[in-house]
Symmetry: C2
Subunit: 249 residues, 2 copies
DNA sequence: CAGTGGTCTAGACCACACC
DNA sequence: GTGTGGTCTAGACCACTGT
């Protein structure tokens, strides 16, 4: 994008409360995605580009850093900034947790199997940072896609964090409930493994006993660093895989 | 850390080629990890802190942004910057791919099962962005830990990217070879699933036929956006799980 | 209200890549 | 050399949070 035509495709609104660098990043990402800025294009240098777009260089740089972090562009000293040629680029932008079921065609549904306040088992109390047998909210759900069960979800939450509500649990994700309760999720640690299904699990997930299941164990933290969830999930591996984007591997 | 004593714990070397913000971030991270800056501490405000440390506010901010991104601190407008109280914090800093075997006690070893240049199978050519049946390097390895096999690793690489060398493959990781060849890995996409072991796989991994295996399929990109690897790995799930740190989930 | 982090600017110098 | 992105500065104004 050398001829300055970029300034028309990427217009910013200085009266908007949305930060300039964010507007720029989004506009540039859209322009790249739509092909308005073709792959392998070399962008103008930062000083010139900032001039064309009517922002300062640091502001432009912050936008470019975002795109570089997402893998959409590559910047190299002495050489310039290029739009990455890769075809399969979509998966890289975000790290998907597990709600990928919302994708193409799948009609996700949730059935609440149980919803109780119980004394925390030792391992749960330890992971949540609570004293032994402290009351915790235990949520057991069955996730269905296209009418058939794909996962059994077991979550433990500190008591009082969100309102237990079967109806909402069956229509919204747990993360939507967190957000509604003002909890800002920030980071998580998770381990992925596999094991064979027990008879009971096989029955729930409509698999053969002994079929391979994907296990995901996770701790989620909020922006204060408190553990807000301990989860132990079980996926029917024949119909489900976890997709992950990794950066700076 | 209010009393300015921080300036002694966090000293920067302005003659070093290492960027100031990076020195700051590392020093602060070390101070937090060691307890020199205790959990829940409220840091001085940014202007004051920058003054104490002898850097400008943007430079300090860049360091703090790094720490915030890693989940070590929390910054809130009107309220200040606090050190996060979480206990289990180590896993969050980086996203581990699969070489976690190097951890505590495990003596990792690798046996090269095969190493050939072959015409690319269709799926591989597609994933690597090559024409059908283009020559690719096919590497089949068995990973052992503590003397017993834990994973069968199958990798396809564009021909000519690295030198095929059995000896080095058995002592170093594939990623070390990439680095040595000047390839800068940048991003990856991977899918994690599970399935039951075939008789042949069970024999290799010393598992029962039908045992649950963890499958990892991955594409790795370099900093130019080229696909430099297509991998299909198989883990003995009874002895291995994949750990992942997730940010901004 | 006062204090905090969030954003933005204009300019400077440096390290590296290619000619 | 010349041109590029990488780093750093000093200062300004704003939006939000608590009192």
């Amino acid at each position: 994008m050398t001829r300055g035509g970029l300034a028309r495709a990427v217009a910013v609104d200085r009266s908007s409360p949305v930060p300039l660098y964010f507007q720029l990043a989004q506009a540039l990402e859209a322009a790249i995605a739509s092909g308005a800025i073709p792959a392998r294009t070399r962008l103008d240098n930062e000083v010139a580009l900032a001039g064309e777009l009517g922002v300062s260089r640091p502001t432009l740089r912050r936008a470019l850093e975002e795109l570089a972090h997402k893998g959409l562009i590559v910047r190299r000293r002495g050489q310039g900034t290029h739009v990455v040629p890769t075809r399969v680029r979509r998966s890289l932008t975000t790290i998907s947790l597990h709600d990928d079921l919302v994708r193409a065609g799948q009609r996700p549904a949730t059935r609440v199997l149980s919803l109780d306040v119980v004394p925390a088992p030792d391992v749960v109390a330890d992971r949540l940072g609570l004293v032994a047998r402290a009351p915790v909210l235990r949520i057991e759900r069955l996730r269905l896609a296209g009418g058939s069960p794909v996962a059994k979800l077991l979550n433990y939450l500190p008591d009082g964090l969100v309102e237990p509500d079967v109806a909402r649990l069956e229509t919204e994700s747990l993360y939507q409930l967190y957000r509604a309760a003002g909890v800002v999720l920030h980071a998580a640690w998770q381990a992925v493994g596999a094991r064979s299904a027990t008879a009971e699990e096989a029955r729930l997930l409509l698999e053969e006993p002994g079929a391979a299941l994907l296990t995901v164990t996770r701790q989620t933290y909020d922006d204060r660093g408190r553990v807000v969830e301990y989860a132990s999930h079980l996926y029917a591996a024949s119909r489900y895989t976890v997709e992950l984007g990794l950066l700076n591997g």
